[in-house]
């Protein structure tokens, strides 16, 4: 199965590299969000519940924008499941002796790696915000972003497998995946928001991933607890979504 996963993963990367619009969507959009929302709101709003860390809203929003990049890559990667079905590629995979699990793993690994590559490019902007990151922090951020990209792609895969149209997937993206990000503390700290929103943020697993990255970038001492919690949750969700994907794709 390893060879099949490798071949399908290579395909994911080649397809991404050859579709320039995906680069723009996955990297350009989060960058614009960060600059326009971060720059636009930065001078207009004071953020209650944010006593330590970044000194500007642009700085606060930076980890959230990085996660938006990971989320967008996961979304675009899994839209390709629907395209694969329409283009016929999927039936070719499903009528080969390779277990469908290879497809699940390749999609999730592909989404995670591509998300990491783009998040890495965004992370390179960090010094412009006055952040001086140690090698350990950069590596820890990469691990966290990879794991987050893995399960976010798994979540996208779940919806894409169930849906038959790209338009339908956009609906899910707008009502499930984007709110997941909005209510993760990526755009505003939950401390000052309405109580129901605070609860939504607490129940949202992405909140802990975003908090882990925020802590890695902004806390003075290495945030073992926040990072460890984010990583553990991410690994748990990854395992769960691999199993769900395996079950879904094996059912003919």
């Amino acid at each position: 199965m390893n060879a099949a996963v490798g071949a399908l993963l290579k395909r994911e990367i080649l397809r991404f590299a050859r579709q320039r619009s995906r680069w723009i969507g996955a990297l350009g959009t989060p960058l614009m969000f960060w600059l326009f929302i971060g720059g636009g709101l930065g001078s207009s709003f004071r953020m209650p519940g944010l006593e330590t860390g970044p000194t500007s809203y642009l700085g606060y929003f930076f980890p959230g924008a990085i996660f938006l990049s990971v989320l967008f890559t996961a979304i675009f990667s899994t839209i390709s499941v629907i395209e694969d079905r329409h283009e016929g590629f999927l039936q070719g995979v499903l009528t080969s002796p390779t277990p469908p699990m290879a497809l699940v793993l390749a999609k999730m690994l592909g989404g995670a790696l591509l998300g990491l590559a783009q998040a890495g490019l965004m992370l390179a902007i960090a010094p412009l915000l006055g952040l001086e990151l140690s090698i350990l922090r950069v590596l820890a951020a990469f691990v966290l972003l990879f794991v987050s990209g893995f399960w976010l792609t798994g979540l996208g895969f779940y919806f894409a497998w169930k849906l038959d149209s790209v338009q339908g997937f956009h609906g899910v993206m707008n009502t499930v995946l984007v709110p997941l990000w909005l209510l993760s503390g990526a755009v505003f700290p939950s401390g000052g928001s309405a109580v129901p929103l605070q609860w939504a943020t607490r129940l949202n697993p992405l909140s802990y991933e975003v908090a882990g990255l925020q802590a890695l970038l902004w806390e003075e001492s290495f945030p073992w607890t926040a990072w460890g919690m984010a990583l553990s949750l991410g690994v748990g969700l990854s395992i769960l979504l691999v199993l769900v994907g395996e079950r879904m794709t094996s059912r003919r």
């Binding site: 060879a3 099949a4 399908l8 080649l14 397809r15 070719g92 009528t95 003919r252």
Partner: protein
């Protein structure tokens, strides 16, 4: 191979199907209704039937995309129900719609397919070169599939299917989208493969393609209504067919009905009459003499496969 649940005779067959049935979730009738047939090794078998006759559903069960609701099918002696992955290993499947990645090159598509079938890099390299040469694609190996014509993409598809050296090829409407010349080339390739001992099953709705098969399975309303070589099926009625089309067809049929023999079979529908008879010459002259009543087209000859289908189902092949 699974030996436990199949008989020796099934092992000698490429495909064996017994009481196979499928009902789509929520449907009130079966798409395929308890069909049984066998396909011997090394021949081209056509699965023929109009849209909705059950041939695509059968194709999907044989290619392990659907789990049968009832019955069983064996591919190379392996149950598609109990061991679909092993059954797939013997199969090469070409779908009605292409299963190539348009963003990858011809060569890259073949490479991925080879890896899915567990071939080594060296095997993939040598088989790819061999097959691309066979299909005249060697010079286009680096081109992305999205830039190829329909005919070239179809050839790429077939090369991809053959990469894993399958013993049984399942082809669903394989010439869809091909121009007539490309269709002829495609069928020439199939004949070459058959002479190499490969079993080929082609689902088609085109009668001219069915004529090129060694054996045919006629499908209608989810059932197999006829099975045999095209000539055998044509000869089974032992008759000639006369068909008159035009506004006077009904009137002519009414004039002929009282004088027809016991063995003659007349079928009338608006604008058309069809007579199966052993006295073709006699009735041809009769109808021709009545053609002033309004006959635009009069045909007399041996039964075509469309006539065979009509005899088997009582319906026009459309």
């Amino acid at each position: 191979m699974e030996i436990g649940n199949v008989s020796g005779s099934q092992l000698a067959l490429a495909i064996a199907v017994e009481g196979l049935g499928y009902r789509y979730p929520g449907a009130s009738t079966d798409a395929v209704n308890e069909i049984s047939f066998v396909i011997p090794r090394g021949c081209v078998t056509g699965i023929l039937g109009p849209n909705g006759s059950g041939k695509s559903t059968t194709f999907r069960m044989l290619s392990t995309q659907l789990v049968p609701s009832r019955g069983e099918a064996w591919i190379d002696g392996v149950s598609v129900r109990n061991n679909p992955a092993a059954a797939r290993a013997s199969l090469g499947v070409t779908f009605q719609s292409p299963s190539l990645d348009p963003w990858l090159s011809v060569e890259e598509n073949l490479e991925i397919h080879g890896r899915l079938f567990g071939l080594s890099r060296a095997e993939i390299r040598s088989r790819t070169t061999e097959l691309l040469k066979l299909f005249g694609l060697l010079a286009r190996r680096k081109e992305r599939v999205r830039t190829l014509s329909g005919g070239l993409a179809r050839r790429t598809e077939l090369a991809k299917t053959l990469l894993s050296a399958p013993q049984i090829l399942l082809l669903d409407e394989p010439t869809t989208g091909l121009d007539p010349a490309a269709r002829v080339d495609f069928w020439n390739e199939l004949r070459k493969l058959r002479s190499g001992g490969i079993t080929i099953v082609v689902a088609t709705h085109l009668l001219e393609e069915a004529e090129l098969c060694d054996e045919l399975l006629f499908f209608s309303e989810g059932k197999v209504v006829g099975h045999g070589a095209p000539d055998e099926l044509r000869a089974a009625g032992g008759r000639e067919v006369l068909q008159a089309e035009g506004s006077g067809a009904l009137g002519i049929a009414e004039k002929l009905r009282p004088v027809l023999g016991m063995s003659d079979h007349l079928h009338v529908e608006p604008g058309r009459m069809r007579l199966e008879t052993n006295e073709g010459a006699r009735w041809f002259e009769q109808i021709r003499s009545l053609s002033t009543m309004g006959v635009d087209n009069l045909r007399w000859g041996k039964p075509t496969l469309a006539d065979v289908y009509f005899r088997l189902t009582g319906r026009e092949y459309r």
